[in-house]
Symmetry: C2
Subunit: 429 residues, 2 copies
Amino acid sequence: MKINFYTMNAPHLILIGCGFAGLELIKKLNGKPIKVTVIDKNNYFNFQPLMYQVASGGLGPDSIVYPLRKIVSKMPNVIFRMAEVNFIDTNQKQIYTSIGKISYDYLCIATGAKTNFFDNKELEKYCMQLKSIPDALDLRSDILQEFEKALSESDSGKIERILNFVIVGGGPTGVETAGALAEIKKYVIPADYKELDASKMHVYLIEAAPRVLSSMSEISSRKAEFFLKQLGVEVLTNTSVISYNASNGQLTLSNNKVLETDTVIWSAGVIGKTIEGIKTELVSRGNRYKVDAFNRLEGYEDIFVIGDVAYMTSDKNYPNGHPMVATVAQQQGRLLAKNIIRLLKKEPMQPFIYKNKGSMATIGRHKAVFEIYGFKLQGYIAWLGWMFLHLMLLVGFRNRMMVFLNWLWNYITYQRAIRIITRPYTQKS
Amino acid sequence: MKINFYTMNAPHLILIGCGFAGLELIKKLNGKPIKVTVIDKNNYFNFQPLMYQVASGGLGPDSIVYPLRKIVSKMPNVIFRMAEVNFIDTNQKQIYTSIGKISYDYLCIATGAKTNFFDNKELEKYCMQLKSIPDALDLRSDILQEFEKALSESDSGKIERILNFVIVGGGPTGVETAGALAEIKKYVIPADYKELDASKMHVYLIEAAPRVLSSMSEISSRKAEFFLKQLGVEVLTNTSVISYNASNGQLTLSNNKVLETDTVIWSAGVIGKTIEGIKTELVSRGNRYKVDAFNRLEGYEDIFVIGDVAYMTSDKNYPNGHPMVATVAQQQGRLLAKNIIRLLKKEPMQPFIYKNKGSMATIGRHKAVFEIYGFKLQGYIAWLGWMFLHLMLLVGFRNRMMVFLNWLWNYITYQRAIRIITRPYTQKS
């Protein structure tokens, strides 16, 4: 019998959110005896690891995102709907969305994470972030607008404030963004803004822990910090942010130091994105849903949670939950697909155990740190490895080609080709 | 002596607007004994002829726009400032901008044109247009959002209204947009939206004149109309729009016919973009400034106007002003540069005479009309010619490469690669 979502007689799984976890899940359920409805508020899969390059003008958004309809169009048992999910009714087994109610037999929540502002409304309102494509485009516009603003300002105090860029949070996103901004200072300012004194631009990276990239080994951390400082980034470890006053630009730090800046980029952690309707006692540390070893929501046989928003304590190496990273999400997505197929065949499911293959971050031209299966590399080879792996991980040949060509172009010209303000950023002031 | 904007002792020209006219002007003034300040509200040059391809998802905006700073950075006597111009004080020879007052010795107004809604506020509010990059991105989002909306609608009347796309104005932009939408119906809908009945999508092109592309020859017009109809576009000539009621989607036409549609794309003409401070009696037909044969604003020795916003009646072939197209703008920009150099040398200036080399429009795959130096071509060869010329006219090698690769990709796959909603369009409803 030919598989067709509408005519097949099979249980119905709704997947909410198609990020790294969701994408692996549907790839493995493609052609299997289960109907899948994918719901996402965007019509594309977003390759988040390269988003900071969209923000810094190295890549266009179309190079890193991939239309979900194109992925789903090859899957006979999967359909896609662009919608926001407002409420889950676990008793009636229905979800309420911006396009109406939909019933499920199984539900998979893979909504991912959002920026953690630690309930500080002022930080949330005035800091830039990097969790979505509009965020990245806003940040790109904002950075370029600051340079333009600096050119029409005569007060040297104000120029310094305009040209101070502060990144809060020294994880991979923070480190990579700081490196990209430092390279803009080094290569783009002298070429494009000859009238600006590049030495007046300062890039600060603030990290509460004693070292940046604290999820990596000590040696990778130290090397990353060395690379950042080599590029002129001012790295402040053991430092956290107390408050930010957007009207005078004062960012107060835990060591009582005050930085004056118009641009604070917040990458100091993420929390899960939950949905109304799930009992609040199931929400645990980091706003994540408690799940068992099979990624089942605690107390439910028909609701699964995977990726950043899942909080699993059964994996003995990760008693406080897994790190909120793409590789965990992908592995959970793949295992859940297998477990669902087992479930349908009434076979026993397999518990999730995270295989940490490594991690990496790039700081700039020829500068990266790379850990894979215990091997640790830094510098040129690590940088090549980082690029190669990211090209391989991108979805679709077109995106790989576009990213590769843009990288080649930026490498040869020392520029960021896409330094355009397509839509001015106006949230500030 | 090395030329440097800040140290050179030379008259100061302010150029307001860097489109086709302004760009040619500064290219020819590069390195000459005149200081030039370029003011534009965007930090990029926009290659408008390909904007409809951004709107239809074939190209990303970064492929067709080019950073103005990159152009200007190679010109020692030219600087760029991103700003809006609010007022021109012709007595004090100053302009008032969003970044302050600037004095000039010579002023060149090259602000271009904006969409002409014929003072109909409702049309202006609810119609989509195609004059800027945000316009094009809004239209791209809107088209894709309509398809998503149709999928979650069960009322077949409403589905038809959602899937009716009406383009008003059969000039090159209207014809090209209609063709692109018809190709989306033919190739993208069946691949990406299998659950939608593509035959329910209708593309209308409305033109008040007896034929589309009325600036071209009769044979080109007829062939373009034939190509459009071949692609399924419903072409209504001798028809104009009376009113549009966005709440019920009713678009009333001059023949008393009513089309129900949620999407009206307005490309029925343009008018000049004027600035406060210039006497209103100098504003003529089409909201354009009256200029003499040397593009001098009537009554002024130190103010020039070039491009779409210039209204010149001295050219004997164009007693009612030149067409508002890129080639006029480019030729005026180039001649004005020469005339300014002559002026500085106290040599006589040369009057502007437009050399019309031809015009062209593409309707779709293998379908275009092309007129050059009196030769008229239609179909496959015209289509190749159209592509070749547009690639040559683009600014910068990177943009040429990106556009070429995207065209190749779209040609091979029959898709529009960039069918992504990066920022939902919310103006409607």
